[in-house]
């Protein structure tokens, strides 16, 4: 079985002084979140799409989905967690409560604010999560990455050719992710903010899926302007 988890847990503090979390802002005529869900909704590989959002926004999210998507039976809205991994674990808990899982079952986790995801990226995530157990969507880093531990001086300048920028989806075999996550100490859980990191720090292979420069994350007000203008360009 294949599940999609749309992570809409963030409250968008980087989005400036807006009242709504950023995933509810309009891109074109519709909320960003709806655009993102649609990309998974039309892909019939998924048994169920789980949308995770802050508790106080669950009803609103449900309303939006039923307003914009005709047949929303395969879309479930549940509460996210405090951290990204808590949110993913909530999705897994929901899946386990409702399905009998086997080793091969996978979850494709995606940021709700990356609506420009393409068909190929989704397909490759499914394929490589099945083949390798875990995969992460990346693009080669166009900027040089600088490492600084104190924010004042450079510690190192890694070779740019080895550097990639992480996008989403990140996709995993569900039971494997759960197994690795459950043995982490609370300290490690705080540190391993990224689910792919849980795999790689356990010496598990994480395959790189080629992302797209256009698969942008709408984080800052500027990003929304960019997203709206690329959508309207003719």
């Amino acid at each position: 079985m294949i599940f999609a988890a749309i992570l809409a847990g963030g409250i968008g503090t980087r989005m400036g002084n807006v009242e709504k979390p950023k995933q509810f802002l309009l891109l074109g005529d519709k909320p960003i979140l709806i655009h993102t869900i649609e990309k998974f909704y039309i892909n019939n590989a998924f048994n169920e799409i789980i949308v995770l959002c802050p508790k106080q926004w669950i009803s609103h999210t449900k309303d939006l989905i039923s307003r914009y998507i005709d047949d929303s039976n395969c879309i479930k809205v549940i509460e996210g967690g405090n951290l990204r991994n808590d949110t993913i674990m909530n999705a897994i808990r929901y899946i386990e409560d409702n399905y009998e899982l086997s080793e091969e079952d996978i979850i494709v986790t995606h940021d709700s604010v990356r609506p420009f995801i393409t068909h190929r990226i989704i397909e490759e995530n499914i394929k490589y999560a099945i083949d390798y157990g875990a995969c992460d969507t990346v693009i080669p880093s166009s900027d040089t990455i600088i490492e600084s531990k104190d924010g004042k001086f450079i510690n190192s300048v890694p070779n740019r050719q080895n550097m990639y920028q992480g996008q989403t989806p990140q996709s995993f075999r569900i039971l494997k992710l759960k197994e690795l996550y459950n043995v982490l100490s609370n300290e490690e859980k705080e540190l391993l903010t990224d689910a792919a990191k849980i795999f790689s720090s356990n010496d598990e292979q994480v395959f790189l899926v080629e992302g797209e420069v256009s698969n942008i994350k709408i984080t800052y007000p500027h990003d929304l302007k960019v997203a709206n203008s690329i959508l309207k360009e003719k």
């Binding site: 519709k30 655009h35 039309i42 019939n44 959508l231 003719k234």
Partner: protein, 342 residues
Amino acid sequence: MMINTIYRLVSPKLFEETYDEVPDLKNQVIVRPTHLSICQADQRYYQGSRDPETLGEKLPMALIHEGIGKVVKDDTGTFKNNDIVAMIPNTPVENDEVIAENYLRSSKFRASGFDGFMQDYVVSTPERLVKLPKDINKEVASFTELVSVSVHAINRFSSISHKRKNRIGVWGDGNVGYITSLLLKLLYPKSEIVIFGVHDEKLSLFGFVDEVFKINEVPNNLCIDHAFECVGGIGSLSATEQIIDIINPEGTISLLGVSEYPIAINTRMILEKGLYFFGSSRSSRADFLETIQIFERHPRMISYLENIINNTIRIKDLKDINKAFEKDFNSNFGKTVLIWDK
């Protein structure tokens, strides 16, 4: 509803990713393109060999009007998910009881009047899609449209031409000439099919026809009952001249070759011989259905069509699209098939 990524040609040799909001998926089918095929018409846009006014008016536009895909969602219930479908580029906006859909001036055509198939998803009405057998050779099926154009021309020929069809001549040793003569051999097994061309290496592929002639080595006493002109370009001039010269009276001449030039023709001889000239262009849904029936009934046809696939190129990014068009341009014969993985 839904953001769709469209890969448009913005100026000759330059593709760009653009995003469109599909307004409504009601009564629509969403198709993921899987195999596309480059046509001469696409190549002319890509090379910028259309006149600047046309380019200015039509671009930006997604190219490619030959292609198949997989149904990913169908609001109409016509298809099942994962059905393989051929996509029909001609898109009529009205019905006419006399004029066929592909000749109505109001009809729109993919990669000519509006975006072609280079898209993340093609959103289509169900009647512009035709289901293909699951096990069909997908690379061949990618140019179902091109085959249907020949099927259409032969259907017109059948209804217009007189019954004596002892020898039918096909001018042009390119893809259209190949497909047309192949279909003629299949649909008129009693007729002698003769091909007239220029290039030895291309003509050597026409093993299924009854006779092969180079246009400058045609015997003096050779006659034909009917002709298909599949040359196009400036070559149409010498081809029609030769056809008029050797065709028997009251023969039909089907014109399939597209030319950018006005072609002078010997009207005196058309009058004297009482010839029928008629044009054939594009195809309709009915022609697609018939083409697929031919594929199913004649597996040999598929293997002959496999022979003209020259390049198969996997498209993962915009650079691959350029690579495919350059490769296609530099091949003097055969089809370039794109495995759409963008």
